[in-house]
Symmetry: C2
Subunit: 301 residues, 2 copies
């Protein structure tokens, strides 16, 4: 019987547990975390079978452990698990940054770091906590694994298999590649959205401005509704890659500002058109990937 | 019998026509425009009753004219209408910028400018053309009117009444106020979204980046799917206000970059939290405004 430990039974950890349960793939799921209230609620909702009161209890005979707590806590959590880490146990995580998680894992686990396989499921919802957890959160979504040179192939496969059971598609990146990619397509947009709303909110006529903000503004700033604590941690954890992307974007904006100041219509239109084209190609590729394959009407031919 | 002329029978003009028709408020709707194909399609869809072949024919006996063509064409269109502009006819527009429209109207109409009431319905959809037009597009949405000192109160009221018939709520701003407000909450976000997608699309590893872009990126960049020609025109038409907002935003980003470079967690969190708070207050205010009033359970008391 497989024993799975979830550290942090919120949206991410809870949905992983529910996905495994829905597939009948988890023998016994144990929750561990700082919030006794969240653990009790997760138990009530049938997300976990047992709320552990100590790492020692939770880790006894564990096959797989998922850390689904804020990335800044990774080192402290791993340090608390280490004394109880049995040889067969594989630990993974769900953090939005990977280089810092790897550094924390190396520092905390030392030569046991081969038992830690870094990961990042690319899925989320606007709501949080155990009540937000759903079994289908990862279905059809990517989970990035960023294995360490120390990881055995079997360890990586154990983690990949669990995510596949939840319906996720496994992608492999190095921690550095991961952080550079997500700095560009996730961390920078969050910073830009927060910055815009904060900028507007601080203007003396903010009320007038918000009164006329419409659906375009709502979509553009949706990610500024995300948890400030979580995104502070992500920004700091991925600081160098994020600074690099921010500098590239500032250079782009400065260039575009000069074109606008010069009333250079063709240059503005070329930038806008390139963006529209690239975005359309991207959304079409997503839609094609999400569409079920057409039935084969000439099977056998 | 009221005669309404729609110049540009796409999403905006077509939905205005359908809104009036749905309320039984338009006796006869005439379409005018550069595209014979769009006019024929609008006729086929029952958006207009007649496709005019000349401004002269369209303007004969007209009560109300809506310009729903790209703002850069306003001057040329008004000049073509002027020789046929009867004393009872009121002309309005649906352009996303107002200072430039007012300047074009003054130049084209001279002392007949009192017959032109500038306007801007705050509504849209991702699709365009007559096929995208729907009678409910403006229901519950704001329409900003930016009247001129020369406009008679009756002229303004005629335009306001037509928009109210389509279900819109009338707001009044000066052209300058209008342009400053929309530079901040609409034009700048469009420029930022276009700039981000263009920036990513031009990187050598763009394909890798787009592969990991998820729902947050999709929402943030949705407005970069808008028409490049239209947004080139809006950017140029509202250049000065847009430059002002862009400079404020660049200063904000530069400040935030310094905080990030200094790993100043509390400052980042304060900015993010202020944005989250302001956005939540805004969305709650919108939802409250859109919710029908609770039934009065103690009427008479």
């Amino acid at each position: 019987m497989t024993k799975v430990v979830i550290v942090g039974v919120g949206l991410i950890g809870g949905s992983f547990a529910l996905g495994l349960k829905a597939a009948g793939a988890a023998g016994h799921i144990v929750g561990l975390g700082r919030s006794a209230q969240a653990l009790a609620r997760a138990r009530e909702l049938g997300i976990i079978d047992e709320a552990a009161t100590s790492p020692q209890e939770a880790m006894r005979g564990a096959d797989l452990v998922l850390l689904a707590a804020p990335v800044a806590q990774t080192g402290a959590i791993l340090a608390s698990l280490l004394p109880h880490l049995e040889p067969q146990t594989i630990v993974t995580d769900a953090g939005s940054t990977k280089s810092d998680v790897v550094a924390a894992a190396r520092a905390a686990l030392g030569d046991r770091v081969h038992q830690f396989v870094p990961g990042h499921p690319i899925a989320g919802r606007e709501s949080n906590g155990p009540d937000a957890a759903i079994p289908d959160l990862y279905r059809g979504k990517k989970t990035v694994l960023a294995p360490l040179p120390e990881n055995a192939a079997e360890a990586v496969e154990k983690v990949a298999a669990a995510w596949r059971t939840c319906g996720a598609i496994i992608h492999m990146l190095t921690p550095q590649e991961h952080d550079k990619v997500f700095a560009a397509v996730s961390h920078l947009p969050h910073l830009l959205a927060y910055a815009l709303v904060d900028d507007i909110a601080n203007k003396p006529h903010a009320d007038l401005l918000f009164q006329y903000a419409a659906s375009g503004f709502r979509d553009f700033t949706r990610i500024a509704g995300s948890s400030p604590e979580m995104w502070r941690d992500i920004s700091l954890a991925n600081r160098d890659a994020l600074l690099g992307e921010l500098d590239a974007y500032l250079a782009q904006l400065t260039h575009l500002r000069a074109r606008l100041a010069a009333s250079d219509g063709p240059a503005l239109e070329a930038t806008y058109a390139n963006a529209q084209r690239a975005r359309r190609a991207w959304t079409e590729a997503i839609e094609a990937a999400e569409k079920p394959p057409a039935p084969d009407q000439e099977s056998g031919k």
